[in-house]
C-alpha cells in the first residue's frame, strides 16, 4: 500500500527526527512510503484564526499532493484532525471539491491509529528502559478517538513501563496562537499539566503532537525540571529517542 507521509510544518522545522521515525515505522510495517516534496502546512493556523481563504488555499494544495496515495499518515493528531474533521467543513457548499475532500479525509490517519488499525504493526524496534506517562493531545483524542492506540504501541517497546498521570486527557494550554496571545493563561494551564507529570515521577512524558511537545518541554525546563524527557511517540517506537538508561 502506498502511504503518503505528511510530516507537518512543525516536525519539518523543529524535529525532523520525528519525521524520520515515522517514516521508518511505516516502512517496517511494509508500506511503500511517499513523501511529497512540495508539502508544507495543512492550513490549520489560518483556519483557527479566522482566515478561511488562506486555509482553503493550503488545503487545496495538500489535497492535490496526497490524493494519489492509498493512505495519508500524519505524526500529529491535530493536523490529521484538521484533514479528517475540518476539511469537509472548509469545503462544505462546494460539491466537486467536497467529494475529493471526503475521499482524502477518509484515508487520513494519525500515526499510531494507522499503525494499530490499518498496518497492524506487531513489533517495534524501540527500546526504552524506564517509565513513561502519555499525554493525550486534544485533537487526536477528541476528534479522532486516539487514546488506546498509542498506549497499545508503547506496550510493545522493550523495557518501557506506562504509568498514567491524572487528567492525561486535559489540554496542555497550547492552542496554537493562543499560547502567544494569552501567554500567561496558557502558562497556568500547562503548569497544571506539568504538575500531573511531576506527580507520577516518570522518566518521560510521551505524546503525539508537536505543539504540546514544545509547550510542555518549554514549561518543564523553565520550571527547572531538567530530568523529565519529552518525547514524541514515533521516536520512542522507532528507537530514535534519546532513551533513558
Amino acid at each position: 500500500m502506498r502511504v503518503g507521509l505528511f510530516v507537518t510544518c512543525l516536525v519539518d522545522l523543529m524535529r525532523p527526527r520525528i519525521g524520520f521515525a515515522a517514516l521508518s515505522l511505516l516502512e517496517r510495517a511494509g508500506c511503500e512510503v511517499q513523501v511529497p516534496g512540495t508539502q508544507t502546512c495543512c492550513g490549520q493556523p489560518g483556519y483557527n484564526s479566522g482566515d478561511r481563504a488562506g486555509a482553503r488555499k493550503l488545503a487545496e494544495k495538500l489535497i492535490a499532493e496526497f490524493e494519489p496515495c492509498d493512505y495519508v499518515v500524519v505524526p500529529s493528531g491535530s493536523c490529521a484532525g484538521m484533514i479528517r474533521a475540518h476539511y469537509p467543513e472548509l469545503f462544505s457548499g462546494d460539491p466537486p471539491w467536497l467529494a475529493r475532500v471526503e475521499r482524502l479525509a477518509a484515508k487520513t490517519y494519525e500515526l499510531t491509529d494507522f499503525l494499530v488499525r490499518i498496518a497492524k504493526l506487531d513489533s517495534v524496534p524501540g527500546e526504552y528502559h524506564g517509565t513513561v506517562t502519555y499525554h493525550d493531545a486534544c485533537s487526536g483524542l477528541r476528534e479522532l478517538g486516539v487514546k488506546a492506540q498509542p498506549r497499545a504501541m508503547l506496550a510493545k517497546v522493550k523495557g518501557l513501563r506506562i504509568t498514567e498521570m491524572t487528567e492525561a486527557q486535559a489540554c496542555c494550554g497550547f492552542g496554537g496562537t493562543f499560547a502567544v496571545k494569552f501567554g500567561d493563561v496558557s502558562t497556568r494551564i500547562v503548569d497544571v499539566k506539568c504538575d500531573g507529570i511531576a506527580a507520577v515521577k516518570a522518566d518521560a512524558v510521551v505524546l503525539g503532537d508537536l505543539g504540546c511537545m514544545l509547550n510542555i518541554e518549554g514549561r518543564l525546563r523553565r520550571r527547572g525540571d531538567e530530568r523529565t524527557q519529552v518525547l514524541h511517540v514515533a521516536e520512542v517506537l522507532a528507537g530514535a529517542g534519546r532513551g533513558s538508561s
Binding site: F20, N48, G50, K57, T177, G183, G218
Partner: protein, 468 residues
C-alpha cells in the same frame, strides 16, 4: 450588568495573580468534574439521551414560533399573563409596570441569569423597590455588590473565608466559619423578606408548551418560596427556553442536573402552572411570564443557531481549562466560559468582545461534555472568521497570517525560509538547545522556554537522503 468584555486579556492577567481565586476555582474543578463523571457513569445510555436531548432542542428551535404561541395560549388559559420583550429595557419596563400596578414595595428573587442580562435589580432599585436575592450564592453577591462569576454556582470565585468576613461585616455578627452556621445566618435574614415580599421574581430553566408551565431547578428551596409566598410571581426567561412537552422535559432533566452539579436530580424541580386556583391554598394571585428576545431571534436566523440549544448547565465552563484558570469575571459579562464566549459577542456585538472568540484553546473538552451537543469550538471558530472578515483583528496578526499562507503556498521559497529559520533558531538555542526569550514571541517565552529546532529541516535532510 456592566459590560467589560473588551478587556478579557487584562482581566485574565489580573485574575491569575489572585491566590484566593485559584483556590476557589480548584475547588470547583475538584467538585464538579468528578461529580459529573460519576453520575454520567450511572447511565448506560448517556450518549443516546444526549442525542435525544440535542434533537429535542433542534426540533424546538426549528419551530420556535409555533411552540411559543402554543405556550402563550396554554399559559393564558391557566390564568398567567404572557409578555413579550424585545429588549432588556422592555423587559425591565414590563416588570416595573407590573410592580406599579400591584403596589409592590419589596421583591424577592430566585436566581436568574436572564435578569442579570437585563440588569433588572438596578432597574427595580432605581424605581424605589427593594429587591432581595434569596439564592445563597446570589445573596452573598448582593451583599458584596458583585456580579456572578458562574451560571450555576454564582459565587464560586469566593472562598469560605471571604464569605465569613463579608457576613461578619454586613450582618454585624460575630465571624463564623462553619458553612452550616453561615447558611443558617443567611436563612434567618431571608425569612422575613419572603414573608413581607409582594413580588417573587424567578427565572425559568424551561417553559413547557404543552401545559403552559414554567420550571425551575434549584437546590435550596428558595425558588419554591419565591413562587408561592408573594402575591405576584414574575418569571422571566429567554424565548429559546421553550420545550414542547412534559415528556421532552423529562429527557432534558435527566441531563441538566447531572451535567451541572453532578446530581442525578436536583433537590427541587418546581413546575409552576397558572395562578392560585379557588380550591388551592398557595400560589400567587397574579402570574406574569416575560419572554425575552434581546438578540435571540437574530441568533436563530444566523449560523450561530446551535448555541440557542444551550440549557445553561455550566458543564462547558466547569471543564474549560481557560475558565478553570481565570474564573468567570474575566469574561466581563453575564455568561462566562465557552458558551459565554459564543453568546456574549452575539448579544452585545462582536466589536465589543474582541478577545472572547480567541480566549480558548479549542481543546473541545466543552464540546464533548455539552449535554445538547453544541459544537462550541466550531462556533468560536466561526466568530473568529467573522472578526477576520470584518477587519476586527490586529493588522499585525492579519499580516502574519497572510505571510504564512503565501509562504506555505510556495514550497521552494518556504523551504528556503524555514531552512534559514531552523538554522538561526538552533543557533540561538545554544548548548542548552532552548531559547529563553524571543522578541516576537514574548507571550510564549515569558512563561516557558522555546525548545530549539534541530538545525536542519526535514525536507532538506530528506532531499539529501534521496540524493545519496
Amino acid at each position: 450588568m456592566q459590560i467589560s468584555s473588551m478587556h478579557f486579556k487584562a482581566r485574565a492577567t489580573q485574575k491569575l495573580a489572585d491566590p484566593d481565586l485559584r483556590e476557589a476555582l480548584n475547588g470547583l474543578k475538584q467538585r464538579f468534574v468528578p461529580g459529573r463523571a460519576a453520575v454520567i457513569a450511572e447511565l448506560d445510555n448517556f450518549e443516546e439521551i444526549r442525542e435525544a436531548a440535542a434533537e429535542i432542542r433542534r426540533r424546538t428551535l426549528e419551530h420556535l414560533d409555533f411552540f411559543l404561541e402554543t405556550f402563550e395560549r396554554k399559559a393564558t388559559e391557566r390564568g398567567a399573563v404572557v409578555h413579550w420583550a424585545q429588549t432588556w429595557q422592555e423587559a425591565n419596563d414590563i416588570v416595573l409596570k407590573i410592580a406599579r400596578d400591584n403596589g409592590v414595595r419589596k421583591a424577592v428573587k430566585s436566581k436568574s441569569m436572564v435578569s442579570e442580562e437585563c440588569a433588572l435589580n438596578d432597574a427595580l432599585e432605581g424605581a424605589g423597590i427593594e429587591v432581595v436575592e434569596t439564592d445563597l450564592g446570589e445573596y452573598i453577591l448582593q451583599l458584596g455588590r458583585e456580579p456572578p462569576s458562574h451560571i450555576i454556582a454564582p459565587v464560586i470565585h469566593k472562598t469560605r473565608d471571604q464569605v465569613s468576613d463579608l457576613f461578619a461585616e454586613k450582618h454585624a455578627t460575630p465571624r463564623k466559619t462553619d458553612i452550616g452556621e453561615l447558611t443558617r445566618e443567611a436563612r434567618e435574614r431571608l425569612r422575613p423578606h419572603f414573608l413581607q415580599a409582594d413580588m417573587g421574581i424567578t427565572g425559568a430553566n424551561f417553559v413547557v408548551a404543552e401545559t403552559g408551565s414554567t420550571l425551575i431547578v434549584t437546590n435550596e428551596g428558595n425558588g419554591r418560596m419565591a413562587t408561592t409566598l408573594p402575591r405576584v410571581h414574575v418569571a422571566i426567561t429567554g424565548i429559546e427556553k421553550v420545550v414542547p412537552t412534559l415528556e421532552d422535559l423529562a429527557t432534558l432533566l435527566r441531563l441538566l442536573p447531572r451535567s451541572a452539579t453532578g446530581q442525578s436530580i436536583s433537590n427541587y424541580v418546581s413546575v409552576t402552572t397558572g395562578t392560585r386556583g379557588d380550591d388551592e391554598i398557595d400560589g400567587p394571585q397574579a402570574f406574569h411570564i416575560i419572554l425575552l428576545d434581546a438578540g435571540r431571534s437574530r441568533i436563530l436566523a444566523s449560523e450561530f443557531r446551535d448555541i440557542l440549544r444551550c440549557i445553561r448547565c455550566g458543564a462547558c465552563m466547569n471543564h474549560c481549562p481557560v475558565y478553570q484558570s481565570v474564573g468567570g469575571h474575566a469574561y466581563g459579562w453575564v455568561y462566562p466560559g465557552p458558551m459565554g464566549s459564543v453568546l456574549t459577542p452575539n448579544y452585545i456585538g462582536l466589536e465589543n468582545a474582541l478577545d472572547l472568540p480567541h480566549a480558548a484553546t479549542l481543546c473541545n473538552q466543552c464540546g464533548v461534555v455539552c449535554p445538547v451537543k453544541i459544537p462550541l469550538p466550531e462556533l468560536l471558530r466561526k466568530l473568529r472568521e467573522k472578526q477576520y472578515e470584518r477587519g476586527l483583528r490586529p493588522k499585525r496578526e492579519r499580516a502574519a497570517l497572510r505571510c504564512w499562507s503565501f509562504l506555505a503556498a510556495h514550497p521552494r521559497l518556504y523551504g528556503w525560509v524555514t531552512g534559514a529559520a531552523a538554522r538561526v533558531l538552533s543557533w540561538m538555542g545554544g548548548d542548552r538547545k532552548r531559547i529563553a526569550s524571543l522578541p516576537f514571541g514574548r507571550g510564549w517565552t515569558e512563561g516557558r522556554d522555546l525548545p530549539a529546532p534541530e538545525g536542519e529541516t526535514f525536507r532538506a535532510l530528506y532531499a539529501r537522503r534521496g540524493a545519496r
